[in-house]
């Protein structure tokens, strides 16, 4: 009798334990998402596509899609209030990771190319047309204006900005928007070169630009201060992103806060990148992520990238019509107007070298590239101002 009840006790507990395991709670969607996570990790490790982002996101997808019994109250899911993952996810949902990343970006970005040749800022502005082109397409597909705005920001090619804006405008779509933004950022080397070839002639690709003038330390110090005041007076809703970006840059350039700049650009950025990537990945739980809307978001993200890259290149061609011959801009740097720093500038450089091995475009492309960071933050501020 005693041995039977003991056996029943063991059996009951094992049955209960089985019900808590991932095997008992698995659904088809979980396996799909686990495959997506593994694919991201494979892309990062084997193909070297943005490994700093795709490894945390890919692993986060694995973490977020291990099935478990949601009704057991174990406080382990990312959407369960009080769970460790939920606490870490607060930086995404409340939108304070992205400004910290912007602090790091500011501290590691040299704006010299932009200061030396300020007209390159306009390329960064033109590339933001990708955002609003995608906004129009999203409206056509039936998204509401706030959702369309959150999705369209993918065209800025700026993950932190996309997360920041979607956390404010469409929190329910944030996982899909973030993964889409980072995926396309990783695929910039695949998406942009065909467009750059399509919209430029052989002659245009050979344009050699004058080396940029030397920029004084004073100009570098003035830039973040004036940049902050001018852009934020126009778009106060961009303060969290632009404020931190320019603050980080001042730490870098002022020369008396080297330690702070180093921390912001290295340790702090690394920590926040790890947490941001992992929690964004973990937020893509199959039940939330595998919806028809996600497919639309990926499609719109792709559209946004194409429009942004193309409009940057086409704007340079248009701009060249009014520029004197010796000041013409190589349209191969137009793609760098999206703020995938420094990947898109590197693509400009590589493509330029392909057609003329002595034509180094990297420093020229860095101008629109960092202008794109400012431009996408301004665009996010505008969308937030209009739609929040």
């Amino acid at each position: 009798m005693e041995s039977t009840s003991f056996g029943t006790f063991i059996q009951d507990n094992l049955t209960q334990f089985w019900e808590l395991t991932g095997f008992a709670n698995a659904e088809f969607g979980n396996f799909v998402m686990l495959a997506v996570g593994l694919f991201f990790i494979w892309l990062a490790i084997k193909k070297n596509f943005e490994p700093m982002l795709l490894v945390p996101i890919g692993f986060g997808i694995l973490i977020g899609n291990i099935p478990f019994n949601h009704e057991a109250g174990l406080e382990i899911g990312i959407y369960e209030e009080g769970s460790v993952l939920n606490i870490l996810y607060n930086g995404v949902s409340a939108g304070w990771y992205p400004p910290l990343i912007f602090l790091g970006i500011g501290a590691m970005t040299d704006f010299s190319a932009l200061i030396a040749n300020p007209k390159l800022m306009l390329i960064g502005a033109a590339a933001q047309f990708g955002i609003f082109g995608a906004y129009m397409v999203a409206l056509l597909l039936g998204f509401s204006p706030d959702q369309a705005g959150a999705i369209a920001i993918i065209g800025g090619a700026d993950g932190p900005t996309a997360i920041f804006l979607s956390s404010k405008l469409a929190p329910n779509l944030m996982g899909a928007i973030a993964v889409s933004a980072y995926s396309y950022m990783a695929l910039v080397p695949v998406i942009q070169p065909p467009l750059m070839r399509l919209f430029t002639t052989h002659k245009e690709r050979l344009i050699k630009m004058k080396p940029a003038r030397a920029v004084s330390q004073n100009e570098k110090i003035i830039f973040p201060i004036v940049g902050l005041l001018l852009t934020c007076f126009v778009v106060p809703s961009g303060i969290p992103l632009l404020g931190m970006l320019f603050f980080g840059n001042l730490l870098r350039e002022c020369g008396v806060t080297t330690r702070l700049a180093k921390t912001a650009s290295n340790a702090l950025t690394d920590i926040v990148t790890i947490l941001l990537g992992m929690t964004v990945g973990a937020s893509t739980q199959a039940s939330q992520f595998l919806t028809p809307q996600t497919i639309f978001i990926f499609f719109l993200g792709f559209m946004a990238f194409i429009i942004a890259s193309s409009s940057g290149v086409l704007f340079v061609k248009l701009f060249n019509l009014i520029l004197p011959k010796e000041k013409k801009i190589n349209p191969l740097i137009g793609n760098a107007g999206v703020s995938a720093v420094p990947m898109s500038a590197r693509i400009s450089n590589n493509l330029g070298l392909e057609y003329d091995p002595s034509n180094y475009l990297l420093m020229h492309a860095m101008g629109p590239n960092v202008a794109g960071v400012i431009g996408s933050a301004v665009a996010a501020g505008v969308l937030l101002g209009f739609l929040a």
């Binding site: 300020p118 502005a125 204006p145 369309a148 080396p211 202008a371």
Partner: protein
Amino acid sequence: MRKYIALVAVMLLGVAVAGAASRKAVRINEVMVSNENSIVDEYGNRSGWVELFNSNFAPIDISSIFLGYGPDSASMRNNLYPVPLGDVNTRIPRRQHVVFFTDGQPNKGTFHTNFVMEPGNFIGIFDADSSLIDYVQIDANLQTNQSYARTVDGAGVFRIRTGSDMEGQYITPSSANIIRDTNERIALFAERDKNGFAMTLMAMGVVFTALLVLCLSFYGIGKIGAAVSRMNKARANASDGAATVALSDVEHDSGEEIAAIVMALHEHLNAHDTENTILTINKVKRAYSPWSSKIYGLRQVPEHHSAR
């Protein structure tokens, strides 16, 4: 040391001013004098009530403020109800409301005042230092089950609300005076800008304007910087007795030009610049900062005392 004390004093003053300023954001938002079918208190009783609104975008603790009541604005100070300390519910979240029952029974709890309101009288909020934060004279025509409420939370004018189902007539204790089921801005964009063209036009206009202004500013700053550097160069040349260089002829040398000149000198003249072989040692002066001082980061070595 004085500098640090001054800095700390300024920071404390800033915190004090900010703290005080936040309580100034509390507003009387809605008042009901005679209540027969509106909300009940925690004891199941109905009485008049006053709703306060935190118009700030940060939480405010209203403990130790006073609710004043009287037949005129001056007499409000003579009949004050102090909001008790130590009640967690006196912390009003951002843009939220709290209701006090004006039943004249303060022994029932924090949210029961020591006065009962009548139409035509005044009710006000006073800060802990007795300064008036907000007040309203209740409309003398206010009837039973009607409220006297702001048209917009924390702002706008007071109007009588009848409690009917018509828009703007709802009685809304503990909730917003305007009940919105949609975001008006988004609804407006959805209605008036179906294809997104207006948004694109406006937003791209703003983005271009912001970056164009930045661009023009840096053209200006660059020109000023170049002019200053030309002046400095000219001044240095003049003081060295070197040949005067026409200011307009001086341009920034590009790295490539400098590299080409150096290469040419090296190739054709085999020239080297001559070092003056004088070694100068300058004392590097660093400003003291307690943040980087090692004495605060190191433990004192304990003294060794041998017992004899």
